[in-house]
Amino acid sequence: MTHHQIAIEMDVNGVRHHINVAPGTTLLEVLREHLNLKGTKHGCGNGECGACTVIMNGKAVNACLVLAVRANKKRITTIEGLASNRQLHPIQKEFIENGAVQCGFCTPGMIISAKSLLDETPEPDRDDIKEALSGNLCRCSGYQKIVQAVASASQSMKRGA
């Protein structure tokens, strides 16, 4: 079974990639299988759980619902792109400090959704945070420490930490 392949290019975490994909390939498959970036997770394949959340041209999206061809010439940020120069992003630090990580499977998607929120709303209140994260399911934590971590991150980012 051969499909004709489509050539696409995308900037992922600051690195330009040229890839050939079959038409039905999702952005999630490109990230995990073509680019070997395993941090973005496959939880449901239906856009319901948020484990595959990435930022595409500044907007948080479910990578399982984005066709790779629609990501052509776009800028993607995945969880691997958050820390820089071996320094954790404040959101990552707060997740660790606040005990917001249990099994960790929802964590990359949660952190990306949190980053997307804080990029747009640097000082969200608790309800803003809960709403921004409502598309990311977590079965371990009950969300309490996750919401706290995001609230702490917004404080520490405000202080320029």
Partner: protein, 755 residues
């Protein structure tokens, strides 16, 4: 084990693997990059009950990319029990690797190995199967009807294939002596675990007869034993490795795709990866047992419990897996003083999705029934429900009815008092959803009590550990513990650091690899803190003993001249009195003339399963006009002995509350009667609570100490979900005046979550 000031245990250290998880570098099973990997997929029955008259794989075999196909005739037909338990007559062998007589939607019929997931799907779609659909039965009542046909006639001539009984005293006499007797029948639905990571494995069966499996598994060692029996391989040739794991909650406490994966790998002579889609996960793994509990209770006019009787039916679906063991566990979950007790639990086969282990293992079902009935009794007696619990709860020195063991710790009174204090503080805030005196809104509190276990309550808990001490005095802990995200690796490392008097950073943990880590019963029955914890504690003490022996050899002294106290070896040698830290001692004894390498080891069989206890309150606003409910607050206070890591424990409380909230309000595995299929197959139809569904949560850990636990600890993992649903239901019942006997509440009320 003394109650002195501890340096590492009792502190909220972050999980050691947190950095990997927040950077996306933690390696889960699907993240592994394996050379020459092939993919596998399972053909699953679309019918809940059918006979297959023929299967034709010829077209599928010729599909490009397909490497091989297995049909029922190609695999061992031996019956097995898939649950990760030690051998037991309660683990009934009724399941096959592949079947031509599917008994539930999702049952395994055939399997394909191919070069890619897409080729797998293509291959599956080309397998021709001729089904003769048979009449399915999904409901307990229909399955136990005398005219119902038997799912497993070779096992039992009734769909009730196992009945578990427990009895103490004389319930009939107890009811006669009761001033008030109340009874009702309570029902709870099957629900799904919804781990974010689905079940999956990579199996590599090499030509020289060795099998390596990477899987998200909770019970590696039992699975190795079962696979050894099914496949005819010695255990030494089977290696099971658990990478980072995205949750468990009991869904991985049994074999799923591994037997098929192993045989596909053997067929095509390549490693084969099989991962469940979310839909397969919802219908083809396991669910919580749907229950029907007839509960009858008698009390004196002062409100003292006289007699308690439970007749329970559990819908175990098409295969038994854990079914009878869940009932045996359920029979010992009554945290009250009662002399007259009778329990009967019936395990029922139906063509519904297979039920297996899920957090609480029978306890949420019976605790819901009991706590709701107890509240009705309290209201009938015009007694505060909290007062009713205070009068009747179990005390240290008592036995749990149905269990032979005496409680050595129980801080239920302290839990109730602490929670009442928090409740009062919340009420004193005087914030309310009631905005005017004519409002249709009523606010009420509800309370419920729960207990669980620290390791299996049938005392089969068993664990072992090894500690390799490095020449710089740091330590490598080897534990079979299959951390599924609950933090067991971190807690166990804290025990090692505390015993040896070294930093937590000096302890590295390797876990869950049957080739390298010692036997561990598995991460279930909330066994890690207590059973694995005791094993690790004993291994660390063995390290200390071995260092002492080496020091005695070095200084040429006897045991009376050396004492280990407060992290120091105090040595009275002939020439000198010297104190050495652990690291200094290791430096002294390693690279010398009669040098020693220090390895600590242990084997621990649990004689006790000391129950932890939890009390849960819920505050609910009920709108009489719209029949809507809004959960405003949930309080949970726990007795877990001495907490090994308070942050891990509060994380378990909060997560358990979320699961209990979902159970109470919105979750159920539904079966569409006309289509004869489970209908909630994805996360759109099957809702679990999101961040917006969570009310304000208040948690507290009381001071307590369990003398048989490592540093006084008991376990926590499952208990926290047990009392949540009844607390919520009791609040709604109090606010609405309704008698509620069934979950989820979305059947009867609207659920509001927005502030």
């Amino acid at each position: 084990m003394e109650k002195n000031e501890l340096k590492v245990v009792g502190k909220g250290y972050p999980r050691h693997e947190a950095m990997e998880k927040v950077t996306g570098s933690a390696c889960y099973t699907d993240d592994l990059v394996i050379p020459n990997l092939a993919y596998g997929a399972i053909l699953r029955s679309p019918y809940p009950h059918a006979r297959i008259s023929s299967i034709d794989k010829s077209e599928a075999e010729n599909t490009p990319g397909v490497l091989g196909i297995l049909l029922p005739k190609d695999v061992p037909s031996r019956l097995y029990n898939s649950s990760g338990n030690p051998p037991s007559p309660l683990a009934v062998s009724d399941e096959r690797i592949l079947t031509d007589h599917p008994l539930h939607v999702g049952d395994r019929i055939a399997a394909v190995a191919a070069e890619s997931p897409a080729a797998c799907r293509e291959g599956l779609s080309k397998i021709s199967v001729v089904y003769e659909p048979l009449t399915p039965v999904f409901e307990i009542d229909k399955a136990i009807d005398e005219n119902a046909s038997c799912l497993h006639p070779e096992i039992s001539d009734s769909n009730i294939f196992k009945t578990i009984k427990a009895e103490e005293g004389d319930v009939e006499a107890g009811f006669k002596a009761s001033e008030l007797v109340m009874e009702d029948c309570f029902t709870t639905p099957a629900v799904s675990h919804v781990c974010l990571e689905t079940v999956g494995c990579i199996c590599y069966y090499t030509q020289d007869g060795r099998l390596t499996i990477w899987s998200n598994s909770q019970t590696l060692f039992h699975e190795r034993r079962i696979l050894s029996e099914i496949l005819g391989l010695p255990e030494s040739k089977i290696r099971i490795i658990k990478p980072a794991m995205g949750g468990g909650f009991g869904s991985r406490q049994q074999l799923h795709n591994q037997p098929v994966g192993a045989l596909l790998s053997k067929l095509v002579n390549r490693p084969v990866k099989i991962f469940n889609s979310r839909e397969e996960e919802m219908v083809g793994t396991c669910v919580r047992h749907e229950s029907k509990c007839h509960i009858k209770t008698g009390v004196s006019k002062e409100g003292l419990l006289q007699a308690f009787q439970a007749e329970v039916y559990h819908n175990t679906g098409a295969y038994g897996t854990h079914g009878p063991i869940v009932l045996a566990a359920q029979s010992k979950k009554l945290p009250y003083r009662i002399s007259h007790y009778r329990y009967e639990g019936n395990c029922v086969y139906t063509n519904a999705p297979v039920a297996g282990a899920m957090r609480g293992y029978g306890n949420p079902q019976i605790s819901f029934a009991r706590e709701v009935l107890f509240d009705r009794i309290a209201r009938r007696l015009k007694m505060d429900p909290v007062e009713f619990r205070l009068k009747n709860h179990i005390h240290p020195g008592d036995r749990i009815p149905g269990s032979p063991l005496e409680l050595k710790s129980c801080a239920l009174r302290e839990c109730i008092e602490a929670g009442e204090k928090i409740r009062k503080e919340i009420d004193d805030r005087k914030t309310s959803d009631i905005t005017n005196p004519d409002s249709d809104i009523v606010e009420s509190w509800g309370v419920a009590l729960g207990m669980h276990t620290s390791g299996p309550s049938n005392n089969t808990g068993m664990s072992s550990a090894a500690i390799l001490v490095n020449d710089d005095g740091s330590a490598n802990l080897l534990t079979g513990s299959a951390d599924m995200g609950q933090g067991s690796e971190t807690a166990l490392s804290q025990i090692v650091a505390e015993v040896l008097g070294i930093e937590l950073n000096d302890v590295t943990v390797t876990s869950a690899d049957t080739l390298y880590t010692p036997f561990e019963m598995g991460t279930f029955a909330s066994s890690q803190a207590y059973v694995a914890g005791n094993a690790v504690f004993a291994a660390a003490e063995d390290v200390v003993e071995n260092v002492k022996t080496a020091l005695m050899k070095y200084y040429k002294i006897g045991p009376e001249a050396i004492v280990w106290k407060d992290g120091l070896f105090q040595i009275a040698a002939p020439e000198e009195k010297i104190s050495l830290t652990f690291k200094e001692a290791i430096a002294k004894i390693t690279f010398v003339e009669n040098g020693t390498i220090i390895i600590g080891r242990s084997s621990f069989k649990a004689e006790h399963s000391p129950p932890p206890f939890a009390v849960c309150w819920a505050k609910v606003a009920f709108d009489k006009l719209t029949r809507s409910i809004k959960i405003q607050h949930i309080i949970q206070v726990v007795d877990v002995g001495r907490p090994l890591n308070p942050d891990i424990i509060t994380g378990q409380i909060e997560g358990g509350i979320m699961m209990g909230l979902g159970y109470a309000l919105m979750e159920q595995v539904t079966i569409d009667k006309r289509a004869s299929k489970p209908s909630a197959n994805d996360l759109l139809a099957y809702r679990i609570p999101s961040s917006m569904d969570m009310p304000e949560i208040h948690t507290h850990i009381v001071t307590s100490f369990e003398p048989t636990g490592p540093f006084g600890a008991k376990s926590v993992g499952e208990m926290t979900t047990v009392p949540v649903a009844p607390a919520i239901v009791n609040a709604v019942a109090a606010a609405s005046g309704d008698d509620i006997s069934s979950l989820p509440l979305t059947k009867y009320y609207n659920i509001i979550n927005r502030r």
